[in-house]
Amino acid sequence: MTDRKGTPLVELKDIAISFGGIRAVDHVSLDLYPGEVVGLLGHNGAGKSTLIKILSGAYQKDSGEIRINGEPAQINSPIDARHYNIETIYQTLALADNLDAASNLFLGRELTNALGFVDDAKMESETAKIMARLNPNFKKLKEPVSALSGGQRQSVAIARAVYFNAKILIMDEPTAALGVHETAMVADLIQELKKQGLGIFLISHDTREMMDLCDRVAVMKNGKLVGSERVEDVTEDDILSMIILGKNPKAAA
């Protein structure tokens, strides 16, 4: 079981952001410990993805504080997030379809040789190495990723997050486009990364899956945090009522 004592890896405090008068995230506080998987649940538009994009630097929060390892962190861009070893797998995968797997994996962080030119051969061989670990069936290293299947594209996106030694991993619907076999693969990977001491935020619609994969689930509705509970303490029905009614049955009781 995760040790929830000590300094949390991530502390989100009172985070708020509005888009044109709509409070997409309304003063939400949430934390994440090393080796912990926290699931974020909620309807479409509940603010899960928005909250996570603030942590990954894609959006800038209006107010609130982010602390990484107890220190206040300024995250204003995806590059800032990378400095804190935060890696994100976006729901859309955020792949450039016209580039091959290696170019996507190293996008924005290309390996260069002594002359400052991109070192394609080295990036390709590094990609082959990590793909051999993540998805041994992956062979289409030279093709643009538009030629890959949904599962293969997903493994490129996952490889990108894992390769750079993330400490904090954000996964937005990582299994939405996957078949049974590939979903199991992602679940194994999450367990492995957890053992290595990574903190993982997981977003999904699949309550059953979340019960299996996560240590804790946090439910959002209309931009507000309904509650966060350890999975042992709640039933699937409890979570569903939190999602649908926006009420925490335990708090009410």
């Binding site: 894609a58 995806p78 450039a96 580039l99 400052g116 991109v118 051969a121 061989s125 030629a147």
Partner: protein, 440 residues
């Protein structure tokens, strides 16, 4: 595991037959071959049309092909920049007008301003003029890029405005006058007998070219060995080496086969105090300087696009702008840089165009934007973004120029020329769409 892949790949290659195995092993771009085929068809078509109907095939002569290479230079230089603009899903309609403006600015600098301070014919005049022209273009481009990236104004509108603004500005700078003559050294960058490097120089360029072809093949093999990627078969490498070096040597032989015209030889002989023998003196043109500028630009841009982060980001932004931004790429700054580069290349192109004309007029470069865009698009740059190559754009420029030159040679009038060029553009893009659909 590696053995397994090799096995399956060889098997599937055998199944696909000899032709496709040839393309697979040499890793040649079939699209590139298609374009070269189209070019060969245009060239022989015009030549034999001329031979049959006019009694003289004028196209496949050293003289015509040399002139063709010079005429391609100006459009080709700009087309390499347009590739980047179109890959990132933008367009630049202003290049023709910016070319005219840069040419006028350079004309004013080298004819009206610099001789006052440096004296007429000072050796630094052409250098300063070129630098001013390129910087002028780069600033205009950067300004357009800034409006597009930070003002969120569509590139179409910004550069459509630019098309009118800079043509008008070019008129105002010189009040519509034609500025001539340009500095004599500056004029060499437009080609002509003196603006070419001669037989010996061309052989040196040719040998360097062959060395580059062989060096690239050797470097490729070395990289593949270091990173344990399967080598190309030796026969495929040999084939590429022979074709590459053959093309280079062929080009040298061609440009050296075109002698200076008699009048120029006579004047040159008088100046140098050489007596011209009865049979005449054979002085080769060799590669024209504007063509060498185009080759230099094409090599620079190819390295930029395939070997640097900048080039990688251009393709990434074209493929998925949102993903590029999430990967930490400053997409707005990239847009400014891309348009600045386009502007700088337009400035360089203005050097070639005004040097060739020997003067600067405010009408220089009129309609060039359309030929430049057409060259990039015929060369396989996709208007939906993310796809395009530098060599394709240069070949595209050569195709456009070949069509025009060919029609002039066989005596088609201007109206028919326009109809043909326009139709070919649409047809080329349609064929490209069919090609992409089939290759998926």
């Amino acid at each position: 595991m590696t053995d397994q892949t090799t096995d399956t790949e060889t098997k599937s290659a055998e199944k696909a037959g000899l032709v496709s195995r040839f393309f697979k092993e040499t890793e040649l771009d079939t699209r590139l071959l298609g374009m070269i085929g189209a070019l060969a068809l245009i060239w022989t078509g015009f030549h034999f049309y001329g031979a049959i109907f006019n009694g003289f095939g004028a196209f496949l002569t050293p003289r015509n092909l040399w002139n063709l290479s010079v005429q391609t230079a100006s459009i080709g230089i700009m087309a390499t920049g347009m590739v980047l603009v179109i890959i990132t899903r933008n367009i630049d309609l202003s290049v023709g007008s910016v070319l005219g403006f840069c040419a006028i600015v350079m004309g004013v600098v080298q004819v009206y301003i610099l001789p006052q301070y440096l004296g007429l014919g000072h050796p630094m005049i052409w250098v300063i003029a070129v630098v001013v022209g390129v910087i002028c273009g780069a600033f205009i481009g950067a300004f357009h890029g800034f409006l597009i990236a930070y003002g969120s104004i569509p590139a179409f509108i910004v550069t459509l405005g630019g098309l009118l603004v800079w043509r008008g500005a070019a008129f105002l700078v010189a009040r519509g006058e034609t500025i001539s003559p340009v500095d004599p050294t500056f004029a060499l960058m437009g080609g002509g007998p003196y603006g070419a490097i001669g037989a010996t120089g061309s052989w040196i360029v040719g040998i360097l070219g062959c060395a580059a072809v062989l060096g690239m093949i050797a470097l490729g093999r070395r990289n593949r060995r270091v990173f344990h990627i399967e080598q190309r078969p030796v026969w495929a490498e040999t084939f590429l080496a022979i074709v590459g070096c053959g093309a280079v040597i062929g080009a040298v032989l061609l440009v050296n086969a075109y002698p200076w015209p008699r009048g120029i030889v006579k004047r040159y002989a008088e100046q140098e105090g050489i007596t011209v023998p009865e049979t005449g003196l054979f002085i080769s043109h060799g590669f024209a300087i504007p063509v060498l500028i185009l080759i230099g630009v094409a090599i620079f841009m190819t390295i930029l696009m395939s070997r640097t982060r900048f080039g990688r980001y251009v393709y990434a932004i074209g493929g998925n702008p949102e993903a590029a931004a999430l990967a930490g790429i400053n997409t707005r700054m990239m847009t400014v840089k891309i348009f600045a580069l386009m502007g700088a290349l337009t400035g360089l192109s203005a050097v070639v165009a005004s040097a060739r004309l020997g003067s600067a007029t405010n009408a220089l470069g009129t309609l060039d934007e359309l030929y430049v865009i057409a060259a990039a698009v015929i060369g396989g740059t996709s208007l939906s973004g993310g796809v395009g190559t530098i060599y394709g754009a240069v070949l595209g420029a050569l195709v456009m120029q070949s069509l025009q030159t060919g029609m002039v040679l066989i005596g088609f009038d201007a109206a028919i020329q326009q109809i043909v060029v326009g139709s070919v553009l649409v047809l080329a893009v349609y064929l490209d769409i069919l090609y992409r659909r089939n290759s998926k």
